[in-house]
Symmetry: C2
Subunit: 274 residues, 2 copies
């Protein structure tokens, strides 16, 4: 029964796992293409008069994402070698093993049965049939079969615990370094939003009215709830990640301050608010 | 110059980003197929006499991975809507805006130049040319162009800071819950490795010799360095993830203890060591 289900199941897992690895490799190629294009934009910005530090941020974001992808590639390679290849090897070995131990078992059962028969024929048998070597062997074999079954499922469970562990290791490592970097990037981007002529562009917390406010009355960005700063997660629930404010992203950046009203951009980012 | 580089660059990013999202969706399909097959194996184990708790672990691992994939899908949807679609919208709006402001600028420059010419012809011009309204307008426009450029790169940088933030949010959330689960799974798997007749199978730390050791002399699994427990990351460096010990994974589970030597499995997992 076990022999009929386990190894075919493992074979299917190996095939699906190999497709999974291939799909990840395709993703890694796309990620590399995307973030190398981001780095190129960053490099352009680096050579402008206006946006040197923003270019720096873009290049760093791109580098970090590329490194993260490379590390995920490491996890998938580990998965391929330590889980998929190990399972594949085991299928073959296990089939040989099952074949071999079945032969040993059948031979032994025949020998024991013959011995028991001889004893019974000679009338030399003293114990009950239930305590005969033959029955003890059968019960022992049954126990061993259960242990074999457990060993197989433990192998599968341990391999996938290992996958979780290697993912967890990466997650923990990433969390710490990414947090520091992300904070630094945000700060650097915010530094480019300096007050102009004492005015800052933003949106009020209460009326959501947009416009220019005296910088002296405006709280720094860091005091803001994540919910009102653009370009970042606006909620701690991932379900709300898609809550898009339609008034956002109508253009690049902000409108010019009141003192120089001759040019108007079409956008309304809300970096500040009184 | 900016107009010639920025929007085509953004267009390319949108196209590459859409491929990236599609590649992730393909990965998510493969992940679902793989972990639903793992869950099926877990369900089989759940219905055995020997491996109920291992089946439970396999089903939980599968569920956790599926949830993680669903959450990564959330990040990619956020990326698609908040970054890619926002960039796409901006390309169109920005082209219209550039067209419009170029007309305004050219008209204004012509008017200012004509006014300056009239003043000069009437001899009514008192200030130097450098301080004329015309020159002031040109300098102001140059300043505005730099600000526009900065706004565009800030938009790009903020959007990608947002991507990092949403990834970071997921990483932090995952790290905490995954750690607790992974520890629980490991414990549950190790519980299936109980001493048999006072003996435990393992490998010595010093000689790496495998065999059965008296359970009383053997340290519990939890005391172990990750480096010797099978099925988990054996090093804190991701570079070593691929260091495969060729003596490993030769079969399922362990060999039977010395007391019952009639059946021998072909494998040599090393869950314990003295």
């Amino acid at each position: 029964h076990l022999m009929e289900q386990f190894n075919p199941g493992l074979e299917k897992l190996v095939a699906l796992g190999n497709s999974y690895v291939k799909a990840f490799q395709a993703l890694a190629v796309c990620s590399e293409a995307y973030f190398s294009a981001v780095a190129k934009m960053g490099d352009q910005a680096l050579h402008t008069l206006s946006s040197h530090s923003l270019g720096d941020v873009l290049i760093q974001i791109s580098e970090t994402q590329r490194r993260l992808t490379a590390e995920m590639e490491g996890v998938f390679q580990w998965f391929q070698v330590e889980v998929l290849q190990a399972m594949e090897k085991n299928i073959k070995l296990d089939e040989e093993y099952i074949e071999g131990s079945r032969r040993v078992y059948e031979l032994e059962v025949r020998n024991q049965a013959e011995a028991l028969e001889k004893q019974l024929r000679r009338g030399a048998y003293r114990d009950s049939l239930e305590n005969s070597d033959y029955m003890i062997y059968l019960r022992q074999s049954q126990q061993e079969i259960l242990k074999e079954e457990e060993r197989r499922y433990r192998f599968l469970a341990e391999k996938h615990c290992g996958l979780t562990q290697s993912l967890l290791f990466l997650v923990n490592k990433t969390g710490t370094s990414l947090q520091q970097k992300a904070d630094g990037w945000k700060e650097k981007v915010n530094e480019t939003r300096e007050p102009r002529n004492g005015w800052l562009y933003g949106r009020t917390d209460t009326s959501l009215r947009q416009g220019w406010f005296p910088a002296a009355y405006v709280a720094p960005v860091e005091d803001f709830s994540i919910a009102t700063s653009s370009g970042s997660v606006r909620s701690h629930s991932m379900n709300n990640l898609l809550d898009t404010d339609p008034s956002e992203a109508r253009g690049h950046g902000d409108v010019p301050p009141p003192v120089t009203p001759n040019r108007r951009a079409s956008a309304d980012f809300r970096p500040f608010s009184p």
